[in-house]
Structures are given as structure tokens and as C-alpha cells.
Amino acid sequence: MSKPYWTKENFPITPIIRNPAGSLAFKCGLWRTTTPIIDSQKCTKCGLCEVYCPDEAVHKSEKGVFEINYDYCKGCGICANECPPKAIRMVAEVEESCTSES
């Protein structure tokens, strides 16, 4: 699990976050129940997935293909919904991850 914002040493009087981009510490990808998979054959590189992603978890790689950062992708499915050539599939996370006693 990611590190907490506040510790005994820096506990403020009100919920103030002093380190910019502090939410990077929260790997909200752990919340995901369905995972978007990009089919690079169908992808037209239009970039709408990157624009629509509410978590900025989609980026264009150096090779020019779109990749998803699964540390932060919550699996909301907006990219799959917006993708004009339907190049993004939403795949359920394995059933055991929801039901296993961990």
C-alpha cells in the first residue's frame, strides 16, 4: 500500500497537503475491476483516449503508440467508450481477486 500523507512528524492542524503532486503516492489502479486493453492493430492514434482519461493514465510512448499506466488506471471504461474504431476492450480482472480471502 502507498505511504500515508501525514505522519506524527508532519501532522498538520487541518488537512493541508504541502507536497505538490502528492496524489501520485496513491496507486488508485488497485481499485480497478475491469482493465482496458488497447489493440494496436485497430488503433488510429487519434489520441482521444488520452484526452478523455480522467486520471491522465494514458500516454503516447516514444514509439508513438498509446499506453496505459495501470498504476493509476481505475478501469472506468471511458476510453473504451470514446474510442472511435473500438480499439479498446474492457477485460474483467480475474474473479479470484474479488473473492479471495487475502
Binding site: 500515508p4 500523507y5 501532522f11 492542524i13 487541518t14 493541508i16 497537503i17 504541502r18
Partner: protein, 397 residues
Amino acid sequence: MSGNRAVAEAAKLAKVNVVSAYPITPQTSIVEYLSEFVANGELAAEFVQAESEFGAMSACIGASSVGARVFTATCSQGLALMHELNYVAAGLRLPIVMAVTNRQLSQPLGMWCDHSDAMGERDSGWIQIYVESCQEAFDTVIQAFKISEDREVLLPTMVCLDGFILSHTSEPVDVPDSQIIQDFLPPYKPDSEYHTLLDVQKPLAAGGGCPPAFTMEFDYKKYEAQENAKEVIRKVDTEFGDTFGRRYGLVEAYRCEDADVILAGMGTMIGTAKEVADKLRQEKGWPVGVLKLRSYRPFPKEDVARATAGSKALAVVSRAVSYGVGAPVYSDVAAAISNSGQKPVLLNFIAGMGGRDVTQKNIAQVFEQGLKAAQTGEVQSEIEWVGLNKNLVGASP
């Protein structure tokens, strides 16, 4: 000068940087005076005429977050409309000072005095101080900034003055020299390492979400700050007394040392009660005293227990109702002495709702019932509505 003028003069002498308010009777003249001071150059402040009290408190929160000394005033429906923001101001630990010219809440609609409005904000985290005179209103506004801005406190303060009875009554008020007030109350200097302070050089995020893992801890910090405020109010009051010759305390125990019967209450009714206590002592020899609850939040439990330690009956008069249970001030006083080992008979009175006068006769009646209870060790009724027209509502006499 009137109570409202006294409050406005105090805010001016506190050299507030921002005033944001929306007019509402009987608070209006406070805001009118302040806008006049800003317009004619007497006060170098930003005056923000908000579109509502919700907007007014929002602007106060913004201004206080960038380090300004901020003042506002409201009451009644205006205070109710601010409710959501009042919790934000306290939670962000912003030392805003607000005058509340206590007025009833609709329905029934009316503009007259009772304490229902401020009672609704009782648990918001704000400090609440109820004053008795125009001089005390002036002095308390000055004190309030020093209390709120103390690092051990950093909570906003409401200075509560009875609508019309105090806001529109003229009394002689000593207004000290500006320089002496500056020495007593230096400018507010927040520190970005500690305070909620928005500074482009040191960016931070404030007012965001907080997970359950931390929320109780922040609530605890606020609770702790209210507890700290007791000592800070005392300290500031003592320093104020040394400088200006007037001090008020968290409570004022008037002729309580040898009193069998003590009336406890808040606001202007206290002046009347002191006078009646004097008369009853002189004319009838009744051992009566008056306990003025000045600081209501924090509630000075220890001071209340100490002041009433020798009493046989304690009559609590609230200018507000807690529907379904009784009266708020009564509940707090009862809780304060519950573990103190003392067991005076407790009497619960509601008086002065919606501008009903709390007369000398009413107060004498409270003392009389208190005396009976002190002698018999019993109360005649669980709660008594003083001055109620029982005929009209078919209540039992």
C-alpha cells in the same frame, strides 16, 4: 454609542484587512458603519458586498486563507445560510471574527432577540462569547482577534450580542487610543509552515478530501484547540485588563460566594439579573447570586462547577429551546457539574424568546422558584417557560 457602532469601531481599530458581509436586521448598521469607514479612508480594508451570507463567509474564508485579518457580521437567517461554511472556516482553522446580533429564526418570522441563531452554530467549532454591554461588545471584538489568532487556538470567534437590546441601545463606551490597541493587537502574521496560508511561492492544497484514516484525528485537533482556548481567553482577558482596566473572565460569578440560589444565563439578561439579585438581597435578605456564562464555546465547565460549588439550587435560563429535550444552556450546565460531586437542585427555564422582554419580575420569579427548590430539595416542574401566556396555549399553570 450603540452596540453595533461599538462593534464597528472595534473592527476598525483592529485594522481588519477585509470585511465581507451581507446586510440583515439588526446587524445592518455594523456593516454600514464599516463600509463608511472604508469609503472615507478611516479604514484601509477591502470591503466586499457579498450576494448572500453564503458568499460573505466564502469570501472571508478566501481572504483569511491568504493571511488577511477578516471581519464579518450577521445573524438569524443569514447565520443559518452560512452554516455549511462555518464548519469549513473552523475546520481550516481560520481566525475569522464575526459579530452575531442574536435574532430569532423563522418560523415564526421576526427580527427580535433570542439565541436560537447562534445555538445552531454551537457545535461548528467556532468560539462563542456572549456579551452583556456595548462596552463589552467593543472589548470582546478586540480580544476575539487575539484569541482566534493564537497558535494554540486558530479557530474563528463569534461575538454574540443581543439583537436590538444591545445592538441598538446606546451606552457610554470608552474607545481607547488606536496606538494602545495596536500594541495590544499587532497585525496577524500567519506562517506557511503551520497555518492554512495560500502562497504562490509555497503551494499547498487545502480544503480537499480527507480519508477516514485521518478525519477523527483532525476533529480531535479542533477539540483540543477549543480546550486550549479556555486558557487563551483567560490570558488575553488578563492582558486586556492590565492594559485597559476592564476584564470579564470566562464566567462572571456575581455575589455567588454565599448564594444558596444562583441564576445562570447569557447576554443582556445578566444585567437585569444582577440588579434583581441586589434588590432581593437588600429587601428580602434572599441569598441569591448570578452566574454570567460569557464563553459558551469553549464551555468553561471547571469555572461553572467552582462558582456554583456552595449553591443549593441552580436556575439556568436559556434564551433558546432545544426541541424535544429542553434548553441548550441547561444541558451544558447540568453536564458541567455532573461529575463535580456537587448536587444542587437544577431548574430549567426558557425565557425571552422572539424578543419577549426578560423583565425584573421574570427574574424575581426565577429566584423565587429557585429558593423554594433550595428549601425543599425538589423542583416543581421539569421545565418552565417564563413569561408564557399559558391561557393562550392551554398550558397548565
